[in-house]
Amino acid sequence: MRWTDKLRLRWRSLSRRPQVDAELDDELRFHLDQQIEENLAAGLTPEEARYAARRSIGGLAQIQEECRDMRRVNLIQNVLQDLRYAARMLRKSSGFTTVAVLSLALGIGANTAVVSVIHAVLLRSLPYPDSGRLVRVARQYTHEGAVVGYLSVPQMEFWKENSRAFESLAGCRGGGARNLVSGAGREWISTMVVTADFFRALGVSPVLGREFRSEETRLGGPQAIVLTDGLWRGQFRADPSVIGRAVTLDSESYTVVGVLPPGFWFPEKRDAFLPLRPNGGIGDTGLNTQVIARMKPELNLRQAQAEMATVFESYSRRYPDQVTSDERGVALIPYQDSLVGDVRLNLLFLFSAVGVLLLIACSNLASLLLARLAARQKEIALRLALGCSRGRLLGQFLVENLLVSFIGGLAGLLAAFWVLQAFVALIPFDLPASAPIRLDLPVLIFTLVIAVGTGLAFSLVPVLSSVRVDIQAALKAVGRSTTAGPARQRARSILVTGEVALSAVLLIVAGLLMQSLYRMHQERLGFTPQGLITFETPFASEGHRGDTELASFVRTLSERIQSLPGVQSVAAINVLPLDGQNNIPVQRAGNPEQSIGGMEYRMITPSYFEAMGIPLRRGRFFTADDAGAAPSVVLINETLARRWWPHANPVGDRVVVGRYEQQEFPEIIEPPREIVGVVADTKGPELKAPARPTVYIPVAQARGAGSMSWVVRAGLSAGLAQQLRRAVADIDSTQRVIRMQPMTEIVASTTADSRFDAWLLAIFAGVALALSAIGIYGMVSFSVAQRRHEIGTRMALGASRGDILRMVVRQGVTLMAIGLVLGIAGALAVARSLASLLYGVRPSDPVSIPAVSLLLLGVGLVASYLPARRASRVDPIVALRYE
């Protein structure tokens, strides 16, 4: 028979089922009649003949069912029927359905959202051709894992000339905000300066024009600019004739040479690119330039790394004074890894948290399923006794559970859509995603797989155990509620215990993070942020203001602001605490061995310490007279004083800016400065790190300040911001004012990552706690309902209400306690790997664990007390009569 005929037969069986069934009926009836006739012929009475024939044939219905099975159509019909039945069951038990779907939606939604982020950030490759060959070239230091991703320009050029591992090697660094004047008007744009083969290294070519030529990256060569698609469409109205046109940047003329493709992406968002033109200045000799290289296709990372080791050796032989004693070589980091950095840990942390949440939701679901199936035990036994196959029952329950998880998955997907938006909006760390973070196909497949996977995994055990009933025992107990089989009871206990353990892990870790957050807030800042408003006045480019011009701008603006009503004090500094770093080499005069390469360097106005509330420890503050030609002075912080003058008074001693060991930096070298005082420590760039050695220079004696930040101590009135802006504009109408914000906000933003992690985990832990409470409550009330008869008997035999109460509560609290012990062990293991997210608190912290234990035991007590009270109110007469 051809397969078409087979198909026809199957289709007939399926589509014309009544007729096929009728035929089967006729066929079997014919057989029965023949048997009866034969029996009659053998001399039996008609009644005997019929009876004997029936008996010899056996169960007609069973034969019919088997014949249908043989026709292979039952499978489809069964599934359809099961689906209808399941939908009806779920509608009827709306409580179960709601809890199940909601908890699944929660678990699946959160997972889908986090996986979308992980997919976009960690898994999707960067939008450059063959992006696996891109590496970040970094400096490797001797202390474990210390890698600095910035090089000096001379070093970059040495790598470029001497290494043979790369197809191309390019550098880039920030080019600051520039004032662009074109035909369409003027606008502030953000720029980046790049070497000639920057775009070639990335594998990107401009859609219009070309990338930079090497003469454009030489001092004195023609000035050129490459536009991004966004800037081209906005400022230049997508005009294709823009190539070759001259535009003005900060009053200098540049020629547009290229426009980048619309999909161009670089982790740092810029409007335009300018050529990097080394001029031997501090910008080039300092460690400021990111270097990205494209490895040759025939090399792998290890080979390239080995090649760079030999290049580094020849570099340190050639320029021994350029290599510090703790520098060990060159690190090549796959470019994507270098972008992801700390975000990876944060994302994986989130992923584990939502994974645990899903596990808890699923155990809750499985435990609910067990309860439901236990309640249907008699139905199951009856159906098995009536000839229903175990496989058929199994199939039916699986269909029912898959339906639940499917609906849960759909709801989860909807939830994920919202959660994802919230995530992306709230995540405080930069997500280096090269494409929009959204729910795309791989993520949808992931959701489908976990929805179906959890449905199967968490229904298989309960369902398998429930169809393996002892029919006789179950049926004998008809009319009396059976005590659930010990196996099932144990399965539920394990699930609930697991749920409690996982919740305990989440709660403890959340507790530790909360404590870290608290410790961070308790950390002494070294200044008083309350009542301070800050803003920044960036200078358009280097050389925009000469040093004297800058000093006079700062002085004039200070006086102007000081005269505003309500202003108590005003000061300026190049970098605010917790807001970044700016460090250069400094040496104790006459002591080359006392050098610090990364000395924090602050240029301030004399009133800075007073405005910030930073106390003086020794000597004096600056005055207005510490300016220009007056003797060069410096203030140092306590950390530096302790390091270089552990037992002596530093006041009167001298330091040299721009000198490291035997090395001098011509760009910044200064005559020695006399220390006039020591001030208290303040936090450096990071809240988590102790104060760094710092020198303070009066701005009136400083050179080359790029930008100043202002702190104004005043009653925070609504009009103040406006008045400050006006004050700046009155002095220089072209001067921009950015980042006007209270100092407290800068402090808060440094703890944003930790706050996000801590609160998110606290929310998860809260949900987990609620789910566990439901789990325990459900478990205990179910077993109370099952043991009504037993409880009635106990009371009839003299057990007091208190005895019953204690017995039931003990059951719930025991589970809680076991789960708790497991959870504490788990949390200790987990917290160790989270050490870098913790601050000032050890995993085995003596506060979190007892607090969480008390909380969980309390919840366990309440969750089992409610059903226990119900149990203790059982009227023994009613309970026994009811049975």
């Binding site: 028979m1 051809r2 005929d5 087979k6 037969l9 199957r10 035929e23 089967l24 006729d26 066929e27 079997l28 014919f30 057989h31 009649d33 023949q34 048997q35 010899s56 044939i57 056996g58 169960g59 069973q62 034969i63 088997e66 014949c67 099975d69 043989m70 026709r71 292979r72």
Partner: protein, 111 residues
Amino acid sequence: MGKPSDLVQGTLDLLILKTISLEPKHGWAIAKRIQQISNEELQVQQGSLYPALHRLEQQGWIKAHWAETETGRNAKFYALTRSGRTQMEKELANWDRLSTAINLVVQTDEA
């Protein structure tokens, strides 16, 4: 008297195919025929016969049609198809090999 379970696994199919290889028969006749030819040694239970018939039909080895019996009643007759005949010959050959082999073993004097 043989019970269905005494039938060697898979031989019921062969018996059915062989029985209808000469002319189409209905279920009752197939059961009776097997019983007669085997000298009442093999008795096919309805519980196995009809599912087997439906299975063979699904596999395309036999096909069914409704026709009148000698006694004038409507019954479902099963006939061998071409692929059913091939299948029967294959199973016969198998059976021959198997039974010869078993005979060899069980009839050897020293076991």
